[in-house]
Symmetry: C2
Subunit: 298 residues, 2 copies
Amino acid sequence: MIDSNVADFLIWAKQKQTRIADILNEALPATSIAPQTLHEAMRYSTLNGGKRVRALLSFAAAEFCHTPDTVAEAAACAVELIHAYSLVHDDMPCMDDDDLRRGKPSCHKQYDDATALLVGDALQSLAFEVLSTPQLCSNANQQVRMLNILAKAVGSSGMAGGQAIDLSSVGAKLSQTELETMHQLKTGALIQAAALLGAASGSQQQIYAVHIYAQNIGLAFQVIDDILDVEADTGTLGKTAGKDADNEKPTYVSVLGLELAKKLADELYEAAIHALAPYGEEARRLRELAGFILQRSF
Amino acid sequence: MIDSNVADFLIWAKQKQTRIADILNEALPATSIAPQTLHEAMRYSTLNGGKRVRALLSFAAAEFCHTPDTVAEAAACAVELIHAYSLVHDDMPCMDDDDLRRGKPSCHKQYDDATALLVGDALQSLAFEVLSTPQLCSNANQQVRMLNILAKAVGSSGMAGGQAIDLSSVGAKLSQTELETMHQLKTGALIQAAALLGAASGSQQQIYAVHIYAQNIGLAFQVIDDILDVEADTGTLGKTAGKDADNEKPTYVSVLGLELAKKLADELYEAAIHALAPYGEEARRLRELAGFILQRSF
């Protein structure tokens, strides 16, 4: 990307990040409503900034496929709520036991374990509530399909399943293929769902292109995450750095080494861009977003 | 109910209990599919018998409203999956810390805390996956509404919210009204959803009658539960008896005393039956089910 394009993309991304913050703020129950602590903790765990990569994927795919704004916004909101729920549960003592999230105490540290458990549970329900808003889509069959895509991406054949494989892999030696399967479920499934929900109004060809694009982006995202976990310090990362190595979790860096991991990330980026080759300006945000995700410090 | 009616109802209930066990068995991922331990634990926590009161409510309301079998079965399956998820999370050490569930080790005792957390998470997703099966309802708008009813019943304004209030009420002195609000969310919301989802094809009047019926049944169910917690022993109950009193949790018995609690249960039963007064034979199963729930040892 040349500089003026980068600037233009960053303005777009900033606008969408502000928009999703507003949408989440509206979707989350007010702290004035009982049970107040639960609602406060749900807001604490969701409205804490972050790059909102999943929401940006929904928005970029929606621009590509001319999906109506209201549908794209509900999709973006649902995937960010699911992502927030997964972080709250992942940080709990019985899982990754992480005290820090985006530079602040994680939910169970700020509140307690029981609250964190309920926050995650309620955020998952809220995601499905938002996406099942009556009359959200002019075509209700499309809306049912969207709900089904999200449910499958989140459950035991998606995110929760990947988390289970991740837990059982501590101390184990995984091949690159096994590592890919685990990440494909743990982070890839929701990233794909984010893009596919945004692409709801697209043609079959467009949806297929988004599918391939998102598959590669999802893996690239995880490879970069593993690289950052080794290279960045805790302050920059906003979470505990070197955590995966400390936990003896297999990562792309531990399996491939740093240089090959960086090469893999580049290849996945190219494959994602290639999937959009038949398309022009309408796929611009998806292309730019791939670059944004790959060089996350820009 | 006279004896032959009781026998007839029990045959009906037994048939439906067998049917829902088959449906759950089919909806749950096979243990041969990875992640195997997660899938095994999901099946362990769901396919463990129980009276399936929520499924029976869906089926009875469906007979009343002529809701198609496939829709009623998906509704029954979804509410039982949600119920199973709630029990798994409720039993965890950071919540009620209960080692026993239906006479067997609870999920986190049989497996571990991390697995129990993921089992609950994945069962919740699976409920929404089942109910969002494409083409389940001939009217997709109806299906979206059903998904919305379930999501609202489960989240922070429903079941998870009630659980949060319950946790914060330990050692507190609640009035009967406060206790009712808590239970209305914690158990009532899902019981109402079970009945309302079964009633999906009903007229507005029928759905309203089911709503009032289920509201009263939901509370009666909780009052009976509190009475049983005091009167039954651990063997009969299949869970640790006297647990609520030990935990200093307010119950209907602790607030009202045993006799008044029994009187309240009777009154709620009468109110539920009264809501069905305009209807004849078509509401029969709902009436019988009310009796079944009230005298749970029959």
